[in-house]
Symmetry: C2
Subunit: 333 residues, 2 copies
Amino acid sequence: MKSTIYDVAKKVGVSTTTVSKVINNTGRISERTKKKVLEAIDELNYKPNVMATALKGKLTSTIGLLIPDMANPFFADLSRRIEDEAHELGYNLFICSTDYDPKKEKKYIELFKTKNVDGIICASGCEDYTSIVQLVKENFPIGAVARNYNNLEIDTVATDDFMGGYKAATHLINLGHKNIAILAKNVESNRSRINGFLQALEENKIKPRQDLNFVSSISTENGKKFTDKYLSSPNPPTAIFALNDLLAVGAMQSAIERGLSIPQDISIIGYDDSFIASIVIPSLTTIAQSTYTLGKQIVNLIDAQIKGEKQERTRILLSPQLVIRNTTAQANL
Amino acid sequence: MKSTIYDVAKKVGVSTTTVSKVINNTGRISERTKKKVLEAIDELNYKPNVMATALKGKLTSTIGLLIPDMANPFFADLSRRIEDEAHELGYNLFICSTDYDPKKEKKYIELFKTKNVDGIICASGCEDYTSIVQLVKENFPIGAVARNYNNLEIDTVATDDFMGGYKAATHLINLGHKNIAILAKNVESNRSRINGFLQALEENKIKPRQDLNFVSSISTENGKKFTDKYLSSPNPPTAIFALNDLLAVGAMQSAIERGLSIPQDISIIGYDDSFIASIVIPSLTTIAQSTYTLGKQIVNLIDAQIKGEKQERTRILLSPQLVIRNTTAQANL
DNA sequence: ATGAAAGCGCTAACAC
DNA sequence: GTGTTAGCGCTTTCAT
């Protein structure tokens, strides 16, 4: 049977109060009894019952993590980084995949609350983020990662999406591309990237294509399907900017199936620099977001918030990096 | 402030016992009061406090999941399936990555216990599984997925590794390959696959290569490195059996870098059929394990165990499927 | 420096 | 059909 604080108290011959005090390092306890209590705890292999502690209003050392989909390599990677840093700081993680569905998001947030999580990290990027707003209002410890809610005062660690789009476009433009198609899902982060992309086009007096259609979900299948459409249009692009590596791979498949050589006949650039970017052949030029920094920073921000160490909110915007590999080259005009 | 069972009781004008009874559907309550209580619960948006319920010895509706690495696509996928089925049944998931380290496994299991999880699903596959044995002894609800502890009486859903190895070898042998190298990590599941592989070789009177070296960790880098070694040996293989798709991709990279054509010059077969198998070009022939079935079944098994619905343990062995794509062809002798 | 006692929110005998 | 009461394991005043 699991030993309780009573067992420890009885064994040492003190009250549970005393034991509680040495555990929490509160009040004043003589070195002698402290030592004896510690020994007893060790011998009995006593572990405080989190349920009971939580019931008394203390923390549970648990964080809830909301992501769109664990099976998406970028988020799998990000989750792993968050997990590592969270464990480092003594937290356990509840992870829930929302599939960009605000209903699921809401349901999971309620779940998190009934389970008394100390804080919530949100990377889910639902278009309707009413639930998040609500949490902020309640002053519940919450942070956003890889998402940038501009109008919300919330701890944030994200990459600069506008800059990412700008960098991708600039790279392609410098290679002589003027006819660039876009592969994207219609979510806020992607719209920012597209704005950055358009800005670079404008600065170079290049008129954007008018046939942008958003994919319904992020998958290689959709990347392929939409690229097929672009390539069979009357005015096929010489380059494709995919706002996710998975979509980029779909674009590659489409091009190859049509007998096009990458990057000689068509340039393709992805986004995220997930591991698949270095796996595909030719390896994918892409815009990198550091899941490591993203994960580490947000956990520390949330931790500080939970501990009440800071009142003001912090917004960290990381600079995305262009990683040039083998899917982009001089435009073949 | 969050409302408690007392608030509900007061509002309706009954005792907390009555409220508790309608919540748990125990005892006998008149339809009239039942209805009134339910209404009050709704109005106050009352949610039972899990901590308090758990303290009374009830379940927490939480399951702990142990996997080697969330960033590994196979396990990311499996986790997602488990997550979906678990939510379906009303469970929340704690996920921890063990990196095949028994120390971490032990630590996380203790963590799970202090957090009062109802059960644990283990896919971590540590060589030293003392902690798992201990759990079984304690009669703690536990199940193994994608792992087959032969000598342990434990709920299990796994694919038949021996059969998987056998099928891979047979496919290659039928294509005329006699000189096949292996890429694997030295863990139990892989050793079973290799045994199946060797069995097929023996049945066809083919002598296995003697230069098998296990990789220290599963990565494309290691797949590439070890394939480099095989291909520069005096007697390079005509086919490679990689016990993980990631390793297979590394093998592809090595072959391509040496100017070999796949599958004309060398055949490569992977394992798992994770999404990367259909992403790489040429797409990868591989042995498929159904993460969907694996995940769904183990969660149901654990659920039944938690609810005390079954005493005997079940071992489900799924049949792995050969998925022929474009990296295997007739041996070029 | 230590302990008695109340109470966190809930459930389960047991009584009526 | 409903309520009284004790207690799950712990923390925290408030005494001493």
